[in-house]
Amino acid sequence: VAHDPDIDALLPLPPATFHILVALAEEDRHGYAIIQDIAARTNDEVRLSAGTLYRSIQRMQEQGLIAETRQRPAPELDDERRRYYRLTPFGSAVARAETRRLAQMVRLARASGLAPEKA
């Protein structure tokens, strides 16, 4: 796998950043939807606070991982106060690189008997 220094410089990602990238991988979401999606995926084990979410969003926007999108849902489903975010191609590449890194870590842990073999 070729290494991109811009991507490598961001790894390992903070857990909140990775969760947000995963939440935006499926579709564009607003802040509260991101929190709900992460809670649902993790069986309510990870519930981001508003402060953590928006600090992460600010940094991720500066790093080019996500961007605010102008596309909005149908007016009857929309709330004008909401801002929607989407994954950028760079964000997607970083999320894949982090996933590979985590998978490698899990493989290493399995080889050492620290994690159960894949079912």
């Binding site: 607003h30 802040g31 509260y32 929190i35 606070s49 508003a50 402060g51 953590t52 979410l53 928006y54 600090r55 969003i57 600010q58 940094r59 709330d79 106060r81 909401r82 801002r83």
Partner: protein, 414 residues
């Protein structure tokens, strides 16, 4: 919700403007979902903790960003940075050095035991208001004075020192056995002088400074009892005095006991001893002065040829500086403050010139969406960083200026 909005004031204004409404909306939803007093209370505790801790992190993010930007900006114009640093360092260095000397000399109590009761004793003649004491007069004053808890004498005496290495010329002092306990000094190793060390014909003993113990003997505790040569006589080392004990001079390295020979008491005009004393707790300085002058008048009657006009002055040790010296120190501090003001003015002019030169850059940043708060914060960070670095350089250069100015007030300096 107003309370929650208040919590958002912990964040920078830009962050609040960008995300404040959404954060409020999220909190409102969670508040709707919370039922029962316990869950509402838990929600609020969580919100306070979250906003306070995250706000600090957001401020930290911005600070890091500003510092990176400042570093890049300084690299682009190193001449400006060097000039600003030098101006700041000069102003802060001179002011801290002058303040340190003034503080130690005029403000702080002396770093000795019972420093408020320590006094300096001078002989006084009509032509000479402050003269050293002769050994005979010191002996008689000490023996007969009732106002003093202790009285001791000393004289500076440089010596040729031959230890383990090459011979060296060292600053030294000859002191009576009472002096060191009176000042409350405790040896690092060994002991202080006992009265037996201080009598005529006693074997030579000496105390080393910690500095010379480390440089000459490698801080070897086995140094006690070793014999060294001072000038043409041998002395055995009995102890080491702690670093920071600078009496009677800043650079004194060797102390030896006075061991007055009888012949020294024969001439009352042989004035070379400096004398200090500790007043008894209930005795005022005026009472001590009267006490000593009664003895001096009695000595004048007994030894009219040498002592007819000899009286005694007693002044607090910390007031030993004359009014002229005090004025000089105050003026020095004032001059250093003026220098700081000049440095500040120059720095302000430099900063102003720089900001004027960066108008284009600031306009572009404003056009790209940077708010006034963000720009002010960036410029403030830049100025504060330069001031801080200048301050550090100034603070590091302080010891040089401090040594230069504090040489005249040895035992008052740290």
């Amino acid at each position: 919700m107003r309370a929650y909005r208040f919590l958002l004031y912990f964040y920078p204004a830009g962050f609040r403007a960008e995300y404040g409404d959404e954060m409020c909306a999220i909190f409102a939803r969670r508040r709707q979902n919370a039922s029962g007093l316990a869950s509402v209370a838990s929600l609020w505790v969580g919100a306070v903790a979250d906003n306070v801790t995250t706000a600090w992190r957001v401020h930290g993010d911005i600070l890091r960003q500003d510092l990176r930007y400042t570093a890049r900006s300084v690299m682009r114009s190193p001449g400006y940075a060097v000039a600003a640093l030098l101006v700041t360092a000069l102003g802060i260095g001179a002011t801290t050095a002058a303040f340190s000397v003034t503080d130690h000399v005029l403000v702080r109590p002396l770093a000795f035991a019972n420093s408020d009761r320590l006094v300096k004793i001078w002989e006084r003649q009509p032509q000479y208001p402050r003269m050293e004491l002769s050994p005979a007069n010191f002996r008689d004053l000490k023996a007969r004075a009732s106002s003093f808890e202790a009285m001791a004498a000393y004289v500076s005496r440089p010596v040729n020192f031959v230890g383990r290495r090459d011979p060296r010329r060292l600053e030294g002092a000859i002191v009576t056995a009472d002096l060191l306990p009176m000042l409350g000094v405790r040896p690092v190793i060994g002991r202080l002088f006992a009265h037996d060390d201080d009598r005529e014909g006693a074997p030579g003993t000496l105390l080393l400074s910690q500095r010379i113990w480390q440089s000459e003997f490698g801080a070897d505790p086995g140094v006690l009892g070793q014999v060294v040569r001072l000038d043409d006589a041998t002395f055995s080392i009995i102890g080491v005095l702690p670093a920071g004990f600078n009496f009677p001079a800043r650079d004194v390295e060797i102390w030896q006991p006075a061991r007055f020979r009888q012949v020294l008491f024969e001439d009352r005009r042989d004035n070379y001893l400096q004398a200090i004393g500790t007043l008894r707790p209930v005795v005022s300085i005026d009472q001590a002065r009267s006490d000593l002058n009664v003895i001096a008048e009695d000595l004048a009657r007994t030894y009219p040829k040498e002592n007819s006009q000899t009286r005694v002055s007693v002044i607090p040790l910390r007031d030993e500086l004359g009014p002229q010296t005090r004025l000089l120190l105050t003026a020095l501090f004032g001059a250093a403050l003026s220098l700081l003001l000049i440095a500040c003015t120059n720095l302000a002019s430099l900063l102003l010139a720089r900001v004027l030169g960066r108008r284009g850059e600031l306009a572009v940043r404003t056009a790209l969406g940077a708010g006034r708060e963000r720009l002010v914060r960036q410029l403030l960070t830049e100025s504060l960083l330069l001031s801080l670095l200048g301050g550090v350089i100034g603070r590091c250069s302080r010891p040089q200026g401090f040594r230069c100015w504090s040489g005249s007030y040895p035992w008052r300096s740290p």
